[in-house]
Structure formats: structure tokens, C-alpha cells
């Protein structure tokens, strides 16, 4: 049973509620587990590989219409007039909406779903629902819009220039700069015997999930159902209900299978509301999937950053100061979801008494920034981990040794110990050993093709779980179990990992457990799938529900078998008797005796620890070759180690490692949104010119698993792995490039043209 702890919150009008989990022994290092920790393919693997799994664009409802959106061709303009008359009468068109015929619905901060001011190329101006996508597209061409163009800014420099055009009425600085300081950073820099002072930049990366954003909206009387491509069915429910003035129980959001989100689907975007409005107007279900161009123009990106980093250290490698001045270009709007907190890693990764970070977000006339797999940390790692590499070289200290000399066993913002203070150290040790760091050959250094190795570390604020989150379990009369949560599987294997936790605690084989998720009308509240938190948030809630069910089962078994409860346990579908193997009885036989009664448990995720802080950590080593004549970088090998607590399913974790590093290689070498400043136009909002890595670009990836439970983080000892593997990849590649050719690439990505320019400059300096 869940008990509640209720206290007055610090904020007026808010109470602090903590669900207290039932007594359960945390699964520590010595826990003997049968299902958790085993490799298992995804439970829905067959549906996916046979094409039967239904993604958002697969939804087909009777009389369904298809919608498409008219988007602004101007980066900044006033919409003076819209004439939809010709579009409305086109045969096959069922609804046309725009600012002229809808109530203004607030969206973003201080804007509307259809705003009279458009602030980026791609902003929504009107939408059409028709019997086919082709008819809808024809109708868009019949809409006449009169724009009055305004001046625009797309680069951070332009946004900061005196007299710059204002993206928003309040100016181009989005809110107040975020300032953090501890100790005396100026004094720390003065005391430094060695200083690194560099300015790094990172590009805007586009998520490019295989499945674009989109949904199908259908009304049944007063109830709206949305089949939505989202990382958070409950966030979409809340935002859409609010936008349309509906009570939350009249909005149902469903997400069963997901073709990637990577952070861009943490929130509801305009198409959810637009589809719902079109469905209402037309009286028919409406599907609105974004095409690839829209996907890359309007629904988020990793914000660009510029980071001036100063590190001070003594000759023995002790950091005396860390100072980072960070500017971000966040696009035209502030969105919700996880913030891209670039400052965070500067504050926590290394032990340092004197730290200052200033983070200034700037508005530009571009796609709003949104979380992207380890938001902020990927950007920060590019700068901090290169600066640490430079410092190590300057001091003549091995880069791993330098990091060990600045090791922090406490989270320095709160000055509380980590739940697993050795997590990062174990990552260093595992990756160092698995790569053979100490016995590596020194690169030759003279030929046309040069080889280099690079190291980078990281921490991650996520992975530790974000209460609240709830789960229900029903043990059926035939001894099988239905487990229900309101989370969603965003492609990471959540269904499988959570089912393993349920099977473990219920004492059932995995095939006797069904895990239901992704439907706000049938599952209890669960938070957004973000921050690599889902397993660590819901695993304990499912354990708690399972403990309740198991306790009821054992009471029944005790009566049925005439053996006291303390001598009974459940494992692999059988009730076992301590000291008497012959009397073990299948669960289904016990349950048959009480049929048609079924057993019910409910669990809630308890609060995170208060005296300690749970975090995730990792370290990575890259080996690569650089062709000094052509600027071609070939990544040969990546070895990685991560403290993600207990590994619930090694297959799923390896998949996250491979996927994250693949994205990291793209971020390091080829992925970059390119914008024409004068036109305010994204030039590569497509998969041809926006270059994600292909299979040929990805080398063998070796996961040197740490796999040490973190039972103080939560009772399953498991933390998250979704985001971390991406974080150190790009700086490890940059450090390896330096190792190979002696060029420090400050601006990401290390594209062919950038590296060739730098190689040419190097050659000119040498001669």
C-alpha cells in the first residue's frame, strides 16, 4: 500500500506530496535476480520487423481526412490578410482554418497557434483538411496571403548587434541570463599556474527522427482522441485540453510505437491543436503528419551555442577555477520540456571550489530550440572536454589522470554525496582497460594518414528517475499478469525493461507478463519520457505494485498449501516452499482455487533520496584516422563505459549505446543545420543535405559495461542510459583529431571543409 506524506510546499498554494513506497529491500549487488539482468529482445520485436506495429502515420479511421499546413515563406512578417475562399470550394476540401476564422489560441509564450506575426520560415499560417494529402496540397496553393515583411536576424551575432531587429517585442535576450557562481572564480583564475582560455561553438543539430511529428485526431461526441507521436501522452493531454478549453478526461492521447523522439517530442506542438480543430470543423477524423521539411523547420532543434571557457589549474593539475560564458540561439520561441542547460556540466563534473557560469539565451528568427538527447550537456562536453584535453597536454599529465585528480564524490551544487560516488571512477577504469589506454601505441605522426586517440568524460543530470509515476498490476485467474502504466515506449525498450521488473518481483516468467502503456485513458499518470528517467521512475512503482500482489498471492498459497507465509516464495511461475522442493506449486494452480477473483496491486514511485544525489556518468575513448590531404576523418573504434546503475536488459542498453554514439559521430563530423543569413532560410531541411551518419560511417562500438547497481538511487538500483552515450562522443573525436594532426577544432562539426581549411592554414604556417 502506498502511504502519503503531505507537507506545505515552499511555494504558496502548493503542497508537497510524497508517495512512500512499501518496505522493500533494494536490489543491491548481492540480489539474486532471475529475469532482471537478462538479455531479451523487445517484446514487440516481431510486430516491428513484420511491419505490423502501428506508428502514428499508420492510423486509418473510417472517413479519415488528411491535413497539411500553409507555412510562412518569410522569416519575419506581419500577416495582413488571408483569403481562403478559393481553397474552401476546391472539391475534396472539408475544412480550412487560419487566424481569420478561428479564435486566437495562445501558444508558446506570448504567441498564438495562428499568429498575425510570423517569426520564422515555416511558421503556421493556415491549414487544410481534405480527402487526400494531394488535394490538401493543391488547396494550400489557392490560399492567398498578404505579408508585410519585417527585418529578421538569424545569427547570434546579428541578434546581439546594436539596433538589431527585435524578434520579440521584449528584445532578443530571452528572459534573464542565468548566472551561477561559487567560491571566487576571479581569484581562482589569478591563482592559476596554467590557464586555458578558448571560445568554442556548437551547431544546431536537427533531431531527424525516422517518424516525424504528427497525429490523428478524432472526436467522439465531447471526447477528443489523439494518436500522437509523442514522448509524453500526459503532457499532450494537458496542453491540448488547455488550448481547447476541454476537461482533461475528455482528451485521450495514445502512443503505442514510436519512431524516435530524441527530446523533440516532449511537448505538444501546434499540429495537435490544428488537427483537433480541423476534425471538429469537418466532423471527420483528421491525420496531420509533418513532412521532412516541416519536421526540420518548426518542431525543435539543438540550439546553437558559443562558449568562452576559462580553466585555471596549478602545475599538479588541480583546478583552481572554471569559468564559462555561454550564449545560445534558441530560435523565435521559448518552448517547454527540458531546458538546454549548457551550464550544468561545468558546475558538477570536476571538483572545483571556484566556478562561474553565465548562460544567455537569444531569440532569432528560426526554429525554436528544444531538448535534444542530453540537452546542454552535449554542447558543454564539446567545450569543457576539449579544454580539459588541452590542459592535460599543457601540464604533461595523462588526460584520465588529470580527471582523477579533480574527482568529485559529491554533487557540488547541493554539496551532497552521490549515491554511487565511485560511478565515474568505475567508468574511467572500465574504458581505460577495455581500450588498452595504457598500452596504446603512439601515433607515427609523419605520413599522409595520421592516427589519433581521444578521451572524454561526462556526467548527466538525468537517469535517476523523476517521481511521481504510477503502476497497476492485475494477477489473472490463470496466473498471468497485466501490468499497466501511463508511460510510453519511445523506442528505447521501456515495455521490455519494465515487464522484466514486474516479472522479477511477481516471480513469473517474462512471457506471463503483459505490459500495457501509451494510453491516457487506461493507464495511470506517468511523466514525460525524458532525462533517461523512465526505467528509474517506473521500475520502482511497478516493483511496489508487484509486492502488493505477491503478498496477496502468498497469503492465498499459505491457506491452500497449509504452509506459513514466511516459508513461501515465488519464482519463475511457481510458489516455492523453503526446504521442500517437492511441494512447489504453479501460481496458476493457486489462482485457479480463487477464480474468478483476481489480485490487484498499485504502486507509486517514491521520492528520490534527500541526503544524497543520484546521477549518471560515463567515459569514452575514440580512435580514428585523419587523411591530411583530403580532410577525411575515419572513426576506427569507439569504446565506452557508463554508470547507469544496474543493467536491467543488456540488449536494450547496448542498443542505446550504439544509437547514442552514432548520433555523436554525426554531431562531431557531419550534422549541421545550415542557414542563409540574408534570406533567413534553412538550406538543408532534408535528409539529403543534412547528413546523418550512414552505416559506413559507424565503426565497431564496444560497450564496456560498468553494471554496478545503485540501490541508494532507487529500490531497483537501475538508472538511465538513453542520453549519456552521445555526450562524450564529439569531444572524444575532437581530442583524437588533435592527437592525430595537432589541430584543435573549436567549432563543431569537424566537417571536411572545416578540417581542410584548418589543415591548409597549418601547412601555410609550417612553410
Amino acid at each position: 500500500m502506498t502511504t502519503l506524506k503531505i507537507t506545505k510546499g515552499e511555494e504558496k498554494g502548493k503542497l508537497q506530496l510524497e508517495e512512500q513506497e512499501p518496505e522493500m529491500a533494494a536490489w543491491g549487488t548481492d540480489a539474486a535476480l532471475a529475469v532482471v539482468g537478462q538479455r531479451h529482445p523487445r517484446l514487440e520485436a516481431i510486430e516491428k520487423v513484420t511491419g505490423r506495429a502501428q506508428y502514428s502515420s499508420d492510423v486509418r479511421l473510417p472517413r479519415q481526412l488528411y491535413a497539411t499546413v500553409l507555412r510562412s515563406p518569410h522569416p519575419h512578417a506581419t500577416v495582413a490578410a488571408i483569403d481562403i475562399a478559393a481553397a474552401e470550394v476546391l472539391p475534396g476540401v472539408h475544412a480550412v482554418i487560419c487566424a481569420e476564422n478561428t479564435e486566437p489560441i495562445p501558444w508558446y509564450h506570448g504567441s498564438f497557434v495562428f499568429d498575425r506575426t510570423v517569426r520564422l520560415i515555416g511558421d503556421e499560417v493556415a491549414a487544410v483538411a481534405a480527402e487526400s494529402e494531394e488535394i490538401a496540397a493543391d488547396a494550400l496553393r489557392l490560399i492567398e496571403v498578404t505579408y508585410e515583411p519585417l527585418t529578421h536576424v538569424v545569427s547570434m551575432d546579428a541578434a546581439q548587434a546594436p539596433g538589431a531587429p527585435k524578434v520579440r517585442d521584449e528584445g532578443n535576450v530571452a528572459g534573464e541570463p542565468k548566472v551561477y557562481s561559487r567560491g571566487d572564480p576571479d581569484e581562482g583564475l589569478r591563482q592559476a599556474e596554467v590557464m586555458i582560455d578558448r571560445t568554442y561553438t556548437t551547431q544546431s543539430a536537427l533531431h531527424n527522427s525516422l517518424e516525424p511529428h504528427g497525429c490523428t485526431a478524432a472526436w467522439d461526441g465531447q471526447t477528443l482522441t489523439l494518436w500522437d507521436s509523442t514522448q509524453s501522452i500526459f503532457t499532450v493531454r494537458e496542453q491540448v485540453a488547455q488550448a481547447l478549453g476541454l476537461p482533461e478526461h475528455r482528451v485521450r492521447v495514445i502512443k503505442q510505437h514510436m519512431g524516435g523522439g530524441f527530446g523533440a517530442k516532449q511537448i505538444s506542438w501546434k499540429q495537435d491543436v490544428i488537427a483537433a480543430l480541423l476534425a471538429q470543423r469537418s466532423g471527420r477524423p483528421v491525420q496531420l503528419m509533418l513532412d521532412r521539411e516541416a519536421e526540420n523547420l518548426v518542431v525543435g532543434n539543438r540550439p546553437v551555442s558559443r562558449q568562452r571557457v576559462r580553466l585555471g589549474a596549478t602545475r599538479d593539475g588541480t583546478l583552481t577555477a572554471i569559468d564559462a560564458d555561454i550564449t545560445q540561439g534558441i530560435g523565435a520561441y521559448m518552448t517547454g520540456g527540458e531546458a538546454s542547460n549548457v551550464s550544468g556540466m561545468y558546475q558538477t563534473l570536476y571538483r572545483c571550489d571556484n566556478v562561474r557560469t553565465v548562460q544567455t539565451p537569444l531569440y532569432t528568427n528560426l526554429n525554436p530550440g528544444v531538448a535534444f538527447r542530453a540537452p546542454g550537456h552535449v554542447e558543454a562536453a564539446w567545450a569543457l572536454e576539449q579544454a580539459m584535453d588541452e590542459l592535460a597536454r599543457e601540464l604533461g599529465i595523462d588526460p584520465i589522470e588529470l580527471r582523477l585528480r579533480n574527482y568529485s564524490e559529491t554533487e557540488q551544487l547541493e554539496e551532497k554525496p552521490y549515491t554511487l560516488p565511485e560511478g565515474l571512477r568505475l567508468s574511467y577504469e572500465r574504458v581505460r582497460e577495455a581500450f588498452g589506454w595504457d598500452t596504446r601505441e603512439r601515433p607515427a605522426g609523419e605520413g599522409r594518414v595520421r592516427r589519433g586517440v581521444g578521451f572524454a568524460a561526462h556526467d548527466w543530470v538525468g537517469g535517476s528517475g523523476s517521481p511521481p509515476g504510477y503502476a497497476w498490476i492485475e494477477l489473472n485467474a490463470d496466473g498471468t499478469a497485466d501490468v499497466v502504466t501511463g508511460t510510453q515506449d519511445i523506442g528505447t525498450g521501456t515495455r521490455t525493461g519494465l515487464a522484466q521488473v514486474a516479472a522479477e518481483e511477481l516471480g513469473l516468467p517474462l512471457e506471463d507478463v503483459s505490459l500495457h502503456l501509451g494510453d491516457t485513458s487506461t493507464g495511470p499518470y506517468s511523466p514525460v519520457s525524458s532525462g533517461s528517467a523512465t526505467q528509474a521512475t517506473l521500475g520502482p512503482a511497478i516493483r511496489a505494485a508487484a509486492i502488493e500482489v505477491r503478498s496477496q498471492l502468498l497469503q492465498i498459497a499459505s491457506t491452500a498449501m497449509e504452509i506459513p507465509v514466511p516459508r513461501l516464495s515465488v519464482r519463475q511461475g511457481k510458489v516455492l516452499v523453503d526446504g521442500d522442493e517437492r511441494r512447489s506449486t504453479p501460481v496458476k494452480e493457486i489462482m485457479r482455487q480463487v477464480a474468478p477473483h483476481t489480485l490487484h496491486g498499485q504502486g507509486a514511485r517514491g521520492a528520490n533520496p534527500t541526503e544524497k544525489v543520484a546521477r549518471t556518468f560515463g567515459a569514452q575513448i575514440v580512435e580514428l584516422e585523419v587523411d591530411t590531404e583530403t580532410g577525411e576523418v575515419t572513426v576506427l573504434r569507439v569504446v565506452t563505459a557508463h554508470d547507469c546503475g544496474r543493467i536491467v536488459n543488456p540488449t536494450m542498453v547496448d542498443s542505446q549505446v550504439i544509437g547514442g554514439i552514432t548520433q555523436g559521430i554525426g554531431f562531431a563530423l557531419t550534422e549541421e543545420r545550415v542557414v542563409d543569413d540574408r534570406l533567413g532560410l534553412v538550406l538543408n531541411a532534408n535528409m539529403e543535405e543534412y547528413k546523418v551518419p550512414t552505416i559506413a560511417d559507424v565503426p565497431p562500438i564496444e560497450h564496456a559495461a560498468v553494471d554496478v547497481p545503485d540501490p541508494e538511487a532507487n529500490p531497483t538500483g537501475a538508472k538511465g542510459i538513453g542520453e549519456p552515450p552521445l555526450v562524450p562522443t564529439a569531444p572524444a573525436i575532437a581530442n583524437a583529431v588533435f592527437d592525430a594532426v595537432g589541430i584543435r577544432v573549436l567549432d563543431a562539426p569537424i566537417s571536411r571543409h572545416r578540417l581542410l581549411d584548418l589543415l591548409t592554414t597549418q601547412r601555410e604556417h609550417a612553410s
Binding site: 590531404e629 583530403t630 580532410g631 540574408r678 532560410l681 560511417d697 566537417s751 581549411d757 591548409t760
Partner: protein
């Protein structure tokens, strides 16, 4: 995509009769359909050539030439034994173009007619000079992928890898129009766009390519195509080089060097060829020719890197062809 009429004529004469300025020929469709879906072109009429009995995908030897039917796919060129034996650089170029899926669809006839991948040209919000507008937006915009040679109003580069190899081998394009069977040397076929003709080739609108013939190279000829890309596969050339060299007793007797990804058409490095002819085949001569190949490049603001890349590609093509 806008509505269009579709026809599948029975004879080549019928096909030619259907052609006018609003009609387009459809073979593999790998370029045309992307242009239509991107709303860059909107033909009123598509004339499907794939089942035309007069067109084929036969690759054959005929009197000292290799004849390649216009419907031959890039996948065929990549794997055909005759091509591998007589025109290896063509197989190499096909193998590094696009992806297997695209190579299974794309034909050689369509390949030489494909339009540039310039990201201004391909954006339907940009009315650039090549599409009949007044301005080349790439010239002052982001031109990292654009031309370093030539004097066209347009600075887009020709996207084909095969085209450079065909120029290097001295191929001939055969086509039919209302006047009957015609042919044109490939070097004359490609021509920078002009005020009056904003295409990269001179094929009349009312013509159908039937085949491409390539003379078999002289004894002792060796050839190679190399290409630099932003990633390992599936990208257009940042710069590429086709080299055909004839070496006799250690001396270069003839040489053709043609560059990809650097001009509105395949770019012949004539000065480099001249420097090579008569020289002793080897690293020194190849390096010198490679320098000369890039010497008169005029980079734009963002594509200076292509100059050393051209040098590297030419040197590599020669080194790998000439041994």
C-alpha cells in the same frame, strides 16, 4: 506534387511527338520525381520511356565501342563485366553514386540530364537565376558546395559522377528527335547554362536519348574515378576526379583528367593533361599535374577547401590509374 497527365507511348516516334516544353521524360524518376515533389518543376505531362521497345538497357561491344542502352541502370554499370573490363572508371563512378536503392532505379540517360543539387535551386521558396529568376543566391550566400571553375551566372555544380568519367573516356550521346537519329560528343553535350538556355546540357526538349557509346581505350590505357564526400557513402561529390592515362614504356602518351563537383559541367583539366603528356609516369609528374589542375580555380567565399581537395583527388586518381 501537382496534377499531371501520364502516357506510356508504344514507339519512340510517338514519344517524340508527345514532347513539348510542358512535357518531361520519365525513366528511373530518381531526379524528376524529387524535383516535382519539391515543386521545382511542374510538368503538365509525363512521358514514360521504360517500356518503349526502341529503348533498352543492353550493354554490348560494337566495333570498338562499348554501347550502353539509355535505360541501363547505375547498378548495371557497377556490376557489368564488360564495363568492368573496358571502362573500369565508369563502374567505379557508379559504385560511389547515391545508394543501392537509387542505383537500381537511376538510368544512364537520366543521369546525364539530372539537375544540380544546389540548395537554393532545390528550394521552392527561392526563385534563382537557373529557374528563370534574376539572381544566383549561392554566389553571395552559403556556397560551400558550389563551383570553383567556370564563368556561368549559376555557380551550382554538376551532380553526376558518371558524367566526368564519360567525358574522360570521350563518349558520344545518341538520341532521336523529329529529324531522326542524332549524335553528339559528350563534351559538347554538357554546356554551362546561358541566358537563353538554363540547363546544363544542349539536348533539345523534343529529343530522347537512346544510348551512350564509349570508344574502347587504347592499349595501355588505365583509368580511375575517385570522389570526396561529406560522409563515407550517399553524398554528392565535394570534388571528384576521373583520370584516363595511356602509359607506354613509362612515359605518359595521353591523358584525360575530368573533375566533378567543381563546375556547372564536368570540368576538363586541360592544362594538367598537357603537363602530363610526355612526362615520366610517377608520383612527381602526378603531383605536378594535380597542382596544375587546381591552379586556376577561383573559389567563392565558402569553398576554398575545394582547391586542395581537387589537387588531392587528381593526384590520387592518377596514382591509382597509372600503376
Amino acid at each position: 506534387m501537382r496534377p499531371f497527365a501520364y502516357s506510356r507511348p508504344e514507339t519512340i516516334e510517338e514519344a517524340i511527338a508527345l514532347l513539348d516544353s510542358d512535357a518531361r521524360l520519365l525513366a528511373g524518376g530518381t531526379d524528376l520525381l524529387t524535383l516535382m515533389k519539391g515543386d521545382i518543376v511542374a510538368p503538365a505531362h509525363l512521358v514514360d520511356l521504360k517500356r518503349l521497345p526502341d529503348l533498352d538497357d543492353v550493354i554490348d561491344l560494337e566495333e570498338g565501342t562499348v554501347s550502353i542502352g539509355a535505360l541501363s541502370t547505375l547498378a548495371q554499370l557497377e556490376t557489368d563485366p564488360l564495363i568492368a573490363m573496358h571502362l573500369p572508371a565508369l563502374a567505379q563512378a557508379a559504385a560511389v553514386a547515391a545508394t543501392p536503392q537509387l542505383r537500381n532505379m537511376a538510368t544512364i540517360g537520366g543521369n546525364v540530364l539530372q539537375r544540380p543539387r544546389c540548395w537554393y535551386f532545390r528550394n521552392d521558396d527561392v526563385h534563382c537565376w537557373l529557374k528563370g529568376g534574376e539572381e544566383c543566391f549561392a554566389r553571395e550566400g552559403d556556397n560551400r558546395y558550389h563551383a570553383v571553375f567556370g564563368e556561368s551566372r549559376c555557380v551550382a555544380v554538376h551532380p553526376s559522377d558518371l558524367a566526368s568519367v564519360l567525358v574522360a573516356y570521350g563518349a558520344t550521346v545518341h538520341y532521336r528527335d523529329s529529324g531522326g537519329v542524332q549524335q553528339i560528343g559528350i563534351e559538347d553535350f554538357f554546356s554551362p547554362p546561358t541566358e537563353g538556355r538554363r540547363t546544363e546540357h544542349v539536348l533539345p526538349a523534343e529529343a530522347v536519348i537512346t544510348r551512350v557509346t564509349v570508344p574502347m581505350t587504347a592499349d595501355g590505357a588505365r583509368s580511375r574515378y575517385v570522389k570526396a564526400m561529406d560522409r563515407k557513402v550517399w553524398a554528392f561529390a565535394l570534388a571528384g576526379a576521373a583520370a584516363v592515362v595511356v602509359v607506354d614504356e613509362g612515359v605518359v602518351r595521353d591523358a584525360r583528367i575530368v573533375l566533378s563537383g567543381v563546375a556547372t559541367v564536368p570540368w576538363r583539366a586541360r592544362a594538367a593533361e598537357q603537363a602530363l603528356i610526355g612526362a615520366t609516369a610517377g608520383p612527381e609528374a602526378f603531383a605536378q599535374a594535380a597542382e596544375i589542375a587546381a591552379a586556376d580555380a577561383v573559389p567563392l567565399a565558402h569553398n576554398g577547401y575545394k582547391v586542395p581537395l581537387v589537387t588531392a583527388m587528381v593526384r590520387r586518381a592518377l596514382a591509382e590509374a597509372g600503376v
